[in-house]
């Protein structure tokens, strides 16, 4: 069973990140690639994202999730990149030995020259929110509800309340409405939405579904099935304000309260994780501090747009290819340039730049901590301002990016850092 198998690049996950990484690695000249997917089909979460809005950036047209996935799956097939379905990666070592398990696969150990982590993310469950009350049937995370409705075609409820205004929650508000269910309200703990503005317009406003900002669910009723929830307004410390409770009679509560990068396997590699993103710490090559282990897509940090996942993953694929051919340093390398964040910038990906090996241009992706109006995004090297851009609105729900050229970055003195801030 445990033969001495070997591949040049092993990609964990056959969703949008894994597919784009595979295509890019192959195009960069690596022949021996394997994609390992746990589900019964390639495409990952895109298979259940039947709504449109994907691909504007990549393909200059508006596609549904399955259509967007199909384009990448077609490329993988054209390029004859091998993949395993229904196969789970059980472990990954820092030596890039990967153990697979599957019904047909059995148990296999594969040694890879490079590993690309592309496992995606999962949803924050009810328990993590500590919502008091009963624990009846009818409480779903938005993504689970989406799968049951869109892949299997089941009806998950007739009258729903949604907690959290993340994009999946907003999309599901519209989806439920179109399928004949009634969505009473979307409650959002924060004073701003966690989703894209366009989704508030076309998923809530179009159907008259109220968005209750600074509100949360404080009680769940129903011993067998959900029979109702109580929503209350919260103060600036996000504590419920007594006297503002309102009861909603409903049979379903959907939760769309954030996505968490799924880094169980990353931990096994001993790669350093960021406490802010929940994903690995990477350099501009998207390499973790374990040599030959790369990360991209939602396992690295949660994205809003699949287009940027594809772009990032393609970069990981190219860099993994370069690594296999013998180039590049891991992100733990002390000679790399650290990127510090200030003034409301929560994190950047990458967190470090391998300045000696960097490409002509790199993209820093980041999120901000709050809603900011009329701010300037600025990047400094010491006192020197390398970049600035005026913005009208910055919001935590929308990822921002800054492109920096090698030319602009110039040379760094030892210990000198790059700083990104809002002013």
């Amino acid at each position: 069973m445990l033969g001495d198998l070997h591949v040049e690049i092993l990609i964990i996950g056959g969703g949008p990140a894994g597919l784009a990484a595979a295509v890019a690695a192959k195009n960069a000249g690596v022949q021996d690639i394997l994609i390992v997917e746990r589900d019964r089909m390639l495409g990952g979460i895109l298979n259940q994202c039947i709504h449109n809005g994907f691909g504007l950036h990549t393909f200059r047209e508006e596609l549904t999730g399955p259509e967007y996935a199909a384009r990448f799956i077609a490329r993988v097939k054209e390029l004859e990149i091998p993949y395993l379905l229904n196969t789970m990666v059980m472990s990954v070592g820092s030596d890039r030995t990967v153990t697979l398990m599957g019904r047909e696969t059995g148990v296999k150990k594969i040694k890879a020259d490079a590993v690309i982590l592309a496992m995606g993310c999962r949803e924050r469950p009810r328990g993590a929110l500590s919502i008091p009350g009963y624990r009846p049937a009818g409480i779903y995370t938005a993504g689970t509800a989406q799968r049951l409705m869109n892949i299997e075609g089941y009806s998950i409820g007739k009258r729903a309340v949604i907690l959290g205004s993340g994009d999946i929650g907003l999309i599901m508000a519209r989806r439920l409405t179109l399928e004949g269910a009634e969505v009473l309200a979307v409650a959002e703990l924060m004073p701003y939405s966690g989703g894209l503005k366009r989704n508030i317009v076309q998923c809530l406003n179009d159907y008259g579904i109220p968005l209750l900002l600074s509100h949360t669910v404080v009680d769940i009723r129903g011993k067998e099935r959900v029979s109702g929830v109580t929503i209350a307004e919260v103060d600036e410390k996000r504590n419920p304000i007594p006297g503002t409770e309102q009861d909603y009679e409903c049979d379903t509560l959907l939760l769309s309260c954030g996505l968490l990068p799924e880094n169980e396997l990353t931990r096994m590699t001993n790669a350093s994780l960021s406490t802010v993103t929940g994903g690995a710490v990477v350099n501009d090559r998207l390499q973790t501090d374990i040599p030959g282990i790369f990360a991209c897509g939602n396992v690295l940090h949660v994205h809003d747009l699949v287009d940027y996942v594809s772009e990032e993953a393609a970069l990981a694929g190219e860099n993994a290819a370069a690594y296999v051919k013998g180039a590049g340093a891991a992100s733990g390398d002390p000679e790399q340039i650290r990127i510090e964040t200030e003034g409301g910038v929560r994190y950047t990906v990458p967190q470090q730049i391998d300045i000696r090996n960097m490409r002509d241009e790199i993209t820093l992706r980041f999120r901000v901590a709050d809603v900011y109006k009329d701010k300037t995004i600025a990047v400094y090297k010491g006192e020197e301002k390398l970049y600035s851009r005026r913005t009208r609105v910055l919001a935590p729900g929308e990822m921002e990016q800054v492109k920096l050229t090698r030319e602009k970055l110039g040379d760094f003195a030892p210990g000198e850092v790059l700083k990104i801030t809002l002013e």
Partner: protein, 120 residues
């Protein structure tokens, strides 16, 4: 003159648009691209949307095929289109772009498959 504040839904930027309607003369401000102007004008005169859903498929390797309107349909027709989508079903094999509902709700727009379904 009437003005309306809209959020452009063309792309994730979600530009805040100010649309002024002065008789037949409509002007859009706040857009960062030409598509924003088109959206703004259309949204106050003839708002349209793409509708997506799923349809059961028989004999396929998956149980349901995702579908979408091949183009935008009038916003007011969304539920009529959905009624026809709910009544529809498909038989494998299905290819992306196959027409599932022709001329949905008289809009002149077809509902088409959004993924391939292999026959088993």
């Amino acid at each position: 003159m009437e003005t309306r504040e809209l959020t452009c839904i063309n792309c994730p930027l979600g530009c805040a648009l100010t649309v002024s309607i002065d008789g037949g003369n409509i002007t859009v401000k706040g857009n960062t691209c030409p598509r924003g102007e088109i959206y703004g004008k259309k949204e106050v005169t003839d708002p349209t949307r793409t509708v997506t859903s799923t349809v059961p498929v028989s004999g396929g390797d998956i149980a349901r095929v995702p579908v979408k309107t091949a183009g935008d349909i009038p916003k007011g027709k969304i539920f009529e289109v959905m009624k026809e989508v709910h009544a529809a079903h498909a038989a494998a094999p299905v290819a992306i772009g196959d027409v599932i509902v022709e001329n949905a709700a008289g809009t002149g727009v077809n509902v088409v498959a959004a993924r391939d379904v292999a026959a088993v």
